[in-house]
């Protein structure tokens, strides 16, 4: 298309003016993320980090790593249908979960079991969905952890709605919604961020950019400069953080949570990390990534990063290290033992909890199953 030339001198005098309704709504500059992911470990800032926090993060990371290993082993034994490991991403899981107050809510994706466990959820209950005995099984209100969400990004609008409702009720509750890099391509990601910004809802969105959506690398997922840059379009700040630096994750999340709590609105945080294991035990990661890439990331391991800092500051002696390992081992043994017991299921529960009051149709079907079960029992 060619721009129509205005005749004579008018062409030279012509200057485009903005349409009448146009006005800049927000200066985008303060919303833009810093180009480099924020880091604490290995920088001067680490020296001022609270020792107690460092040790707590360390213990949780070690426990989380062990949890991932144990759950993965349970899939090999047929005790879990599937397990999406977060090995390599423990700093995101733990750093984020510990940034929340008890009254806050967590909206995890299916990979965020560790975040849920870090909030106090029973390690076995957190695996109910993946074992296959009930779709969630735990009571979300107990630790304010929404059901682990299997569809991508659909829990994000839930987080926005809950945070909005809490604010309407006058409660200073913050919702943290976790999602992977692939999930940012989903429509619900867009709608959730837009609603959150328009409603100024107290929500924090944490994208764990672990490099791949199953096998599809980030470059094929988005053309954005970073996932954190997407925030600007919604009118909320975007932050980039080193997702393997538990202290940095905790700090950035803490700031966003505090900002949301005091009415400052939502934040989008991209944590740059790497999934060391395959997408799940059912995936073959060697088909889409090189071993050398994995090794590069192994040198940036979240536990090692923190260990180095703790050691340099003289906070990590053998006793502390062993205590963390021992606590993780105890958790794993307990998990193993309880997961190896067959869950006792009542098939009649299938008809419970579909509706508040069973429909006639479901009552009839329940009677059919009851009769079948009775017949089975008799045949035994």
């Amino acid at each position: 298309m060619t721009v129509q030339e205005l005749p004579g001198s008018a062409a030279a005098a012509y200057r485009p003016t903005p349409p009448p309704a146009w006005q800049p709504r927000t200066d985008p500059a303060p919303l833009l993320p810093d180009p480099e992911p924020y880091r604490v470990l290995g920088t001067e800032a680490a020296a001022s980090a609270d020792p107690e926090l460092l040790l707590r993060l360390y213990a949780e990371l070690v426990r989380g790593r062990r949890y991932n290993a144990q759950a993965t082993a349970l899939t090999k034994q047929g005790r879990l249908a599937v397990y999406p490991s977060s090995t390599g991403q423990e700093a995101c899981e733990v750093g984020a979960a510990l940034a929340l107050e008890e009254r806050d809510w967590l909206f995890p994706s299916y990979r965020d079991t560790l975040a849920a466990v870090a909030r106090g959820l029973d390690p076995v209950q957190a695996l109910t969905l993946l074992r296959g005995d009930w779709h969630t099984g735990y009571d979300p209100h107990e630790h304010r952890v929404a059901p682990l969400c299997t569809p991508l990004a659909t829990q994000l609008p839930h987080a926005v709605g809950l945070a909005h409702a809490a604010r309407l009720k006058g409660d200073d509750v913050v919702a943290l919604a976790m999602i992977g890099d692939g999930g940012t391509s989903e429509g619900d990601f867009h709608e959730a961020l837009n609603f959150a910004a328009v409603w100024n809802a107290p929500v924090v969105f944490l994208v764990q950019n672990n490099g791949f959506a199953i096998s599809v690398p980030l470059a094929k997922q988005t053309a954005a400069p970073s996932l954190a840059h997407k925030a600007v379009g919604y009118g909320m700040p975007g932050r980039l953080v080193d997702g393997n630096d538990a202290v940095a994750v905790h700090e950035v999340l803490g700031q966003a949570v505090a900002r949301a709590r005091r009415g400052g609105g939502p934040t989008l945080i991209e944590a740059v990390t790497y999934r060391m294991d395959a997408h799940t035990n059912a995936d073959d990661a060697t088909r889409y990534r090189a071993d050398s890439e994995v090794e590069t990331w192994r040198a940036h391991d979240p536990i090692q990063l923190l260990e180095r800092e703790l050691t340099e500051r003289g906070l990590l002696d053998d006793g502390t290290r062993q205590a963390a390992a021992q606590a993780a081992e105890t958790m794993a043994a307990d998990l193993r033992e309880r997961m190896n017991a067959d869950p006792v299921l009542d098939p009649m529960d299938l008809f419970e909890h579909v509706y508040a009051r069973q429909t006639t149709q479901l009552r009839e079907q329940a009677a059919l199953l009851r009769a079948e079960l009775d017949a089975e029992e008799e045949a035994r």
Partner: protein, 334 residues
């Protein structure tokens, strides 16, 4: 009713009144959707609610159906009772994932820990000259999803009673509003609104002995008219208004068919894979030995909802219903 307070009211007014009463009684009831606030909805069904209850209770949301329903899920998680408007039937499709994957299942998934007391209001159906995407009848999609209630009123009184019941329900309800009946009027006393109608009960709108017309929503007036016309031919038709598609009132429907021995299911959504197939099958399974003829269906054609200039050919009208009734008689005689 003969009291002085009784005057003509439209279905749209009854729906609006139902929301207003529910909001006044229960501070957790929140109305939300595109254009529901200042404008009062494109059909004016939410007229005045934002003014009376404030924008926090009747909220103009961004234009995004998945976002509207998805945020409603979170609000319900925190103890609110959202009433969500999907502006037109086909506009609800982007929200299907939220509806099917979360709204319908959240109670089950959490063993009852997180009920979803959400009412999704969907103006549906044709006959108003709407262009594409403004006239779909999507009830079969909703009916196929366990965990949802699906209701649709056909009268002004039911519009009030069923919407009150839906908002009060601890389970999610897809509330289908037959938009071509929005302006239908009835003598109705806003001072003493009709009783709240429990979800799941059909009603016999007209008693008869020759055959049963099983219908709901926008097709109820069509069947009533057909029944009147049929009387002239000597056919005494019973009309059952289902009101609730899920749960389904087998009892009322089957009692009627056992009395009459013949049945026609009438609705305007497509016949293939449509609600009529399920209804006919249920009736056949339960009333086979009482039937004098196969259960017939009169439905919309199995085509995308037609452009407005042709919709009258698609929508089941009185003549098509009467033709089916005639076929019933023939089948019985052969």
């Amino acid at each position: 009713m003969t009291t002085a307070a009784v005057k003509p009211a439209t279905m749209a007014q009854a729906l609006q009144r139902a929301m207003r009463d529910a909001m006044a009684e229960d501070p957790t009831v929140h109305v939300m959707g595109e254009d529901v606030g200042t404008l009062g909805g494109v059909f004016r069904v939410t007229d005045g609610l934002a003014k009376e209850f404030g924008e926090d209770r009747c909220t103009d949301t961004p234009l995004a159906e998945a976002g509207i329903l998805g945020t409603a899920v979170g609000m319900a998680m925190y103890g609110l009772r959202p009433v969500v408007e999907m502006q037109f039937d086909a506009f609800a499709y982007p929200a299907f994932e939220q509806l099917i994957s979360h709204v319908a299942r959240m109670r089950n998934r959490t063993k009852g820990g997180m009920p979803m007391p959400i009412t999704v209001r969907v103006p549906y159906g044709g006959g108003i000259g709407g262009v594409e995407h403004h006239s779909d009848s999507s009830e079969a999609y909703y009916m196929a999803t366990p965990g949802l209630h699906v209701v649709t009123p056909a009268t002004v009184e039911d519009a009030y009673g069923l919407l009150r019941a839906s908002i009060a329900s601890d389970d999610p309800v897809v509330f289908l509003e037959p938009k071509r009946l929005y302006w239908s009027k009835a003598e109705w006393s806003p001072e003493a609104p009709a009783a709240v109608e429990p979800i799941g009960r059909a009603v016999v709108r007209r008693s008869g002995r020759s055959a049963t017309l099983i219908t709901y929503g926008p097709s109820v007036p069509v069947c009533m008219e057909a029944a009147q016309a049929a009387a002239a031919e000597g056919w005494d038709l019973e009309v059952v208004d289902l009101r609730s598609l899920v749960p389904f009132d087998d009892e009322t429907v089957c009692a009627s068919v056992r009395r009459t021995g013949r049945a026609v299911v009438v609705h305007e959504s497509t016949g293939f894979g449509g609600p009529g197939g399920e209804i006919a099958a249920r009736v056949t399974e339960r009333c086979f030995h009482h039937l004098e003829a196969p259960v017939l269906r009169v439905a919309g054609f199995d085509i995308p909802y037609p452009p407005p200039m042709l919709e009258r050919h698609h929508l089941p009208g009185v003549d098509r219903v009467l033709d089916a009734v005639a076929r019933l008689q023939w089948e019985a005689a052969s």
